[in-house]
Symmetry: C2
Subunit: 201 residues, 2 copies
DNA sequence: ATGTTTTTAATGCGATTGCATGATAACGAC
DNA sequence: GTCGTTATCATGCAATCGCATTAAAAACAT
């Protein structure tokens, strides 16, 4: 057997190059040559792992979801004895562009959201990914309600989507500098204060 | 004197063609040829009114803001004896992709938001435009508070941005079909119910 | 009607694109 | 070592891009 290479791993590395190009030069500037240069390989190598540009971008989008999920799990793992509120706040902070990694992911995500309006394949991937996150978020809120951590009159099935979409809506303004990351987190915390009972002493 | 044409009017018409191309073929597919064909003119005509593609897109972005504002004013004018809540809800509904016009505007806006992450000129235009809308929204909420239409404990300076960014966050999911326009409006109404006192009989 | 200027159209050009092809280098089974 | 397979690379090609150039058409002052 010939030289053996982990194809999936290679594709992930190339996807990272795609992210770098998108976040620094824009989605429309993504070319096989740029990606190859960014990854430090030849264009032929990119073609070897991705038969078409479309497949490359589609893989990159799915890899992006995995990357965000990994960062989320890492953030959660860093918490010690987290409350439901801590978990929800951590998940929110991960989605906001508060650090370079988050900013890169936000740039890439918004680019694919834009492309999804005319590319059904992207739309399906995004629906699936964000639908999953939303489901988890609702489950988290319901668990918080079951544990009695929510204030009276707070409906998990309403507030979970509300907080989630509020977070999504903050991403764009933070990216273009209309809102600072701190302002965004302040707004999120204000919402959490409204939904959760004060911590018992 | 020679043939006289309203340049601004002409640029607006071409901008509409730009919108059509963006919303049907995507931002990256925008070329001078496509825009010309969509507008039913030759490529030379497009070049005559827009020396460069960059200027064309920049003008289109500023025209988009005017178009949204016009649609907002029309929606408000259609209301008879509107309350503050009616005004705020109308403004929200205009920004959501609930009809073809709204959807086209949302597609174009998200495309420019994506492009703005690597094109400071776009970012500045968007900051300016969305900052203005946000200011008006806050003013509306403050007026509602002054009139005693808000529930106790509702802070206009917190809830106005919250509702605004919630709306922004709903646009993407509605565009890709994760949320239906009706669901989005339901979520908005739930928030308004939370903020505003019930209508007095 | 004529001349002048704006508007519209048509075409060309260098650069870049995605993709196909063929050559080279590297690695594992024998 | 030899061979066969694979990974990597370099190059070529048709198509398309933004932009420049040039010519025809149209509309008003005279």
């Amino acid at each position: 057997m010939p030289k053996q290479v982990d194809h999936e791993q290679r594709r992930r590395v190339l996807s990272e190059a795609v992210f770098a190009v998108i976040s620094t030069q824009g989605f429309e500037a993504v070319s096989l040559r740029d990606v190859a240069e960014q990854a430090g390989v030849s264009m032929g190598t990119v073609q070897h792992y991705f038969p078409t540009k479309q497949q490359m971008l589609s893989f990159a989008l799915s890899h992006m979801r995995e990357r965000v999920m990994a960062r989320l799990q890492a953030a959660i793992a860093a918490l010690c004895e987290p409350t439901r509120r801590d978990l929800i706040r951590a998940a929110t902070a991960v989605m906001l562009p508060v650090d370079p990694a988050g900013r890169e992911e936000a740039c890439v995500n918004i680019a694919f959201f834009s492309a999804a309006t005319v590319t059904p394949a992207y739309a399906e991937q995004l629906r699936d990914g964000y639908g999953r996150v939303l489901t988890v978020s609702v489950a988290n809120f319901r668990e918080a309600a079951r544990l009695g951590e929510l204030r009276d009159g707070i409906d998990p099935d309403v507030e979970a989507p509300a907080l989630y979409f509020l977070t999504q809506g903050l991403i764009g303004p933070v990216l273009v500098g209309l809102y600072s990351p701190d302002q965004a987190l302040l707004l999120v915390d204000a919402q959490l204060d409204r939904m959760f009972r004060p911590a018992s002493p």
